[in-house]
Amino acid sequence: MGKLWSLVFLMVPVLGVAMFVWPMLDLWPLQGHWLPENINRYGHVIDDLFLFILGLTGIIFVGTGVAKFWFLLKYDADRNAEPVRYTHGSHKLEVVWSVLPAATLLFLAVFQMNAWADAKMRRPTEIIDGEEVPMRPLVEVTARQFEWRIQYAGPDKEMGTEDDVFVVNDLHVPVDEEVVVVIKSQDVLHSFFLPNLRVKQDIVPGMKQFVWFEATRTGVYDLVCAELCGWGHYKMRGQLTVESREKFDKWLAETYREQERSEYTVPRGDDE
């Protein structure tokens, strides 16, 4: 019986690795079952770190799995005629398998700090009047049950004035430019998740937060709400359009003209 069970447990590392390699190689039927295309200039840091940890943990996973298989096979009571090794442990081994993982984990912890700081602490800067200041946001996104209200500065280039441009669920950003987005919530928690840009930030009502990225490829992508916000959470879908600067300016101008033609004044949030 020991043989059977050791083989059952051998399947864990074998199939466990296969289940990851399969979608990584994009094989049928698991095409498209891996990290979605990264279009953020800084997103590869996250992907690289993910793959690095995957490799590291993969080695431990396979190592312990194979060791376990070998022990189950070799020390099966039905076949192991040797007396048991009457030992209560080994100080040397304990030290080895404490120090090695500790060093590895500490290395990992220090190794990633910079990426975290880049993603969450070091907001891009711009030069205004010869002074380096945090970059002004291009767009302000206000989440509410269950839509994204998006606000751009109008022709006066100032946010929060009469001529601001308002759209819903339709976020546009220029390609190859650093973009800062302000995110706010009107009611409950939401989360601003752009899978292709490796950006995620929970939105807390009462707080004003900033996210930033630099999209490197034009196209249409998903904007997902990733924090439970009520019964309609699943349908709180926005769309991100990355386009060239000219197209973006043209779109913004056109949206502005349309908005000026329409009979609505500036929506205040509760007049739907």
Binding site: Y86, G89, W97, L105, D187, V199
Partner: protein, 603 residues
């Protein structure tokens, strides 16, 4: 023995004699019992019933993810006839909220601490009962108001709370924010508070019992790992629970009298302006996770303890590194108090604080790794017996490795930005809690069943149960890692209308089929359990040839547990000792002349 304990013991005897033979006797013995073994079994039966409820709720989630908005067979017609048998989006939020609530608060925590803690602690330390038998009885009966609150919430549209088991405000705190945030949320908060009261009573009792009532010779470092784990778990409960209770009351006050602890200024929810403000939603998250992260260890440490005992017993070899194992549990518990922030890396908490929590979280993987290596070391060079409990224990180690390693991904803050709130985390905690703890619990049930009922469970069917559960659970949970890598978010009723996730439905269907298989497999277990309780082959005191004290008591032990005064001469893992004739060496067996001397008193 302490005077308090022996006093209550006498009292219990008098009580039993008084009601002998009548209805009063039955109620005193089996219903309002103060015998730790009966209370343990009451916890066991209650939690196993809730396990079924939680499993069915999970199938509802899986059904919706595999075939969204399609009629659910059989149950759909019964539950949602108004929607023509399909799951409504608000009921979907209820499904995952209640699945987690039931599984965590009504199954895992009470089955580990309540069922096994109660049953095993006095038996394994050589005591006749708990230190406070009446308090022990109350700890079980305080579960019933919780059962009733949560049970009642199922009858209130939308049939349960729907703000997630984490109940993040403002969604949970404002009545108009969601259908489930009406009465069901209030009932949810009350229910959780009652569970907390029950756990608190239990933990105080466990600590006192383990410190005060150990048999002569049972020093702390002769305790089985199960008891060490229960001891440290009880400390975690005692220190972390008050915070959850306080937070629960604060949310209750926010909901009922408008205190606004968690509600910021100027909210407009569902087109109405919130009446209160001035609070901070993140405060709830800090308080909630200050309890609920240690709770994660409350849900795994006892399982680790039981697995250590089972592996050593069926490897017929001493546990490798007993003291490092104890220190590892203590290390996990200590670090467990300073890692709660890793649930909040992208919550809006100061990212500088995130760095601190990242480092402590990385370091908590260390004691976990030490435990895994020591389990492997225990198997190395043994004589492994592939009994059902052993198979479950080996699979615990196997699956805990997966759950532990996947945790490192989320501890890495930059990676967490991408996989936070995706199926990667769902995979992670199901590997720890189901594939880990629940599998250990199954193993423990097979292992201690003969002590509980004096009869064996069928080993052959146990192995069938093991193999099918093992295959199906991996089929259900392993692909979740892949979903997580795509960024597939949790708690979405229908994720397939997003371009990114549109292609993931077939994999989800495969997972759902495995989940149905997994739940169906438990029928084998239920039949084996019930049949063996009445008709299984009877056993003697020590069917497994194990060392610890409970195996020297009769099976099942009568009131007062031991028919002799156990005296302990050694630790519980002396398998294959050259000093003994058998391949095991019970803790109570007197040493040959000139051997170790029992300590006169444990305290």
């Amino acid at each position: 023995m302490t005077t308090a304990a022996s006093g209550s013991h006498d009292h219990a005897h008098a009580h039993a004699a008084h009601g002998a033979g009548g209805v009063g006797h039955f109620i005193g013995t089996y219903v309002f019992s103060r015998d730790h073994k009966i209370i343990g079994m009451q916890f066991l039966f209650s939690t196993l019933l809730w396990f079924l409820v939680g499993g069915l709720l999970a199938l509802g989630i899986r059904w919706q993810l595999a075939w969204p908005w399609s009629d659910m067979p059989v149950l759909g017609r019964m539950l949602f006839s108004a929607e023509g048998g399909q799951i409504s989006p608000e009921f979907y939020t209820t499904l995952f909220t209640m699945h987690a609530t039931v599984m965590i608060f009504f199954v895992i925590i009470p089955i580990l601490a309540g069922a096994f803690g109660n049953f095993l602690i006095p038996l394994m330390i050589g005591a006749d009962d708990m230190a406070f038998p009446t308090l022990n009885m109350l700890s079980y009966w305080f579960m019933w108001p919780a059962f009733m609150c949560i049970g009642a919430s199922f009858f209130w549209p939308p049939y349960g709370a729907g703000a997630g088991w984490t109940s993040y405000p403002p969604l949970s705190a404002i009545w108009s924010a969601a259908p489930g945030s009406h009465w069901p949320q209030t009932l949810w908060l009350l229910g959780i508070t009652f569970v907390g009261v029950s756990s608190m009573m239990g933990s105080v009792n466990y600590l006192t019992t383990i410190i005060q009532m150990r048999a002569p010779g049972m020093t702390m470092f002769r305790l089985p790992m199960t008891i060490w784990a229960m001891f440290i778990t009880a400390i975690l409960q005692a220190f972390a629970l008050p915070v959850l209770t306080a937070a629960g009351f604060m949310q209750l006050l926010d909901r009922t009298i408008g205190t606004g602890f968690f509600i910021p200024e100027g909210l407009v929810v569902n087109n109405s302006v919130a009446a209160t403000g001035g609070g901070q939603p993140l405060l709830w998250q800090h308080l909630f996770w200050f309890y609920s992260h240690p709770a994660v260890y409350i849900m795994i440490l006892p399982a680790m303890g039981m697995v250590s005992d089972m592996i050593s017993c069926f490897a017929r070899k001493p546990l490798f590194g007993y003291k490092p194992m104890v220190y590892a549990i203590a290390g996990i518990a200590g670090l467990g108090f300073i890692v709660w922030g890793h649930h909040m890396f992208v919550s809006g908490m100061n990212p500088v604080l995130g760095v601190t929590f990242m480092v402590s979280t990385m370091m908590i993987a260390l004691p976990s790794a030490v435990k895994v290596f020591n389990w492997l070391g225990t198997m190395w060079g043994g004589k492994l017996q592939f009994t059902t409990p052993m198979l479950f224990s080996i699979s615990f180690v196997s699956m805990f490795i997966i759950g532990g390693l996947s945790g490192i991904f989320m501890a890495a803050t930059p990676v967490d930005i991408f996989i936070h709130d995706t199926y990667f985390i769902v995979a992670h905690f199901h590997y720890v809690l189901f594939s880990g703890t629940a599998m250990a619990v199954f193993g423990a049930i097979y292992f201690w069943f003969p002590k509980m009922f004096g009869r064996m469970m069928n080993d052959g069917w146990g192995k069938v149960h093991f193999l099918l559960t093992f295959i199906f659970l991996n089929g259900t949970f392993y692909p979740m890692h892949i979903l997580g890598a795509v960024g597939f978010p949790r708690r979405l009723a229908d994720p397939y209308h997003y371009m990114t996730f549109a292609e993931l439905q077939p994999l989800n269907q495969f997972m759902t089929i495995c989940a149905i298989g997994m739940v169906a497999t438990q029928i084998i277990f239920a039949i084996n359990f019930i049949y063996s309780m009445f008709w299984g082959p009877t056993v003697g005191r020590n069917p497994w040839g194990a060392n610890s004290l409970e195996w020297t008591a009769p099976s099942p032990p009568g009131h007062g547990n031991f028919d002799f005064q156990p005296v302990v001469y050694r630790g519980p893992y002396e398998y294959g000792s050259p000093e003994a004739d058998d391949d095991y060496y019970p803790q109570t067996a007197p040493p040959p002349k000139g051997g170790g001397v029992a300590v006169e008193s444990a305290h």
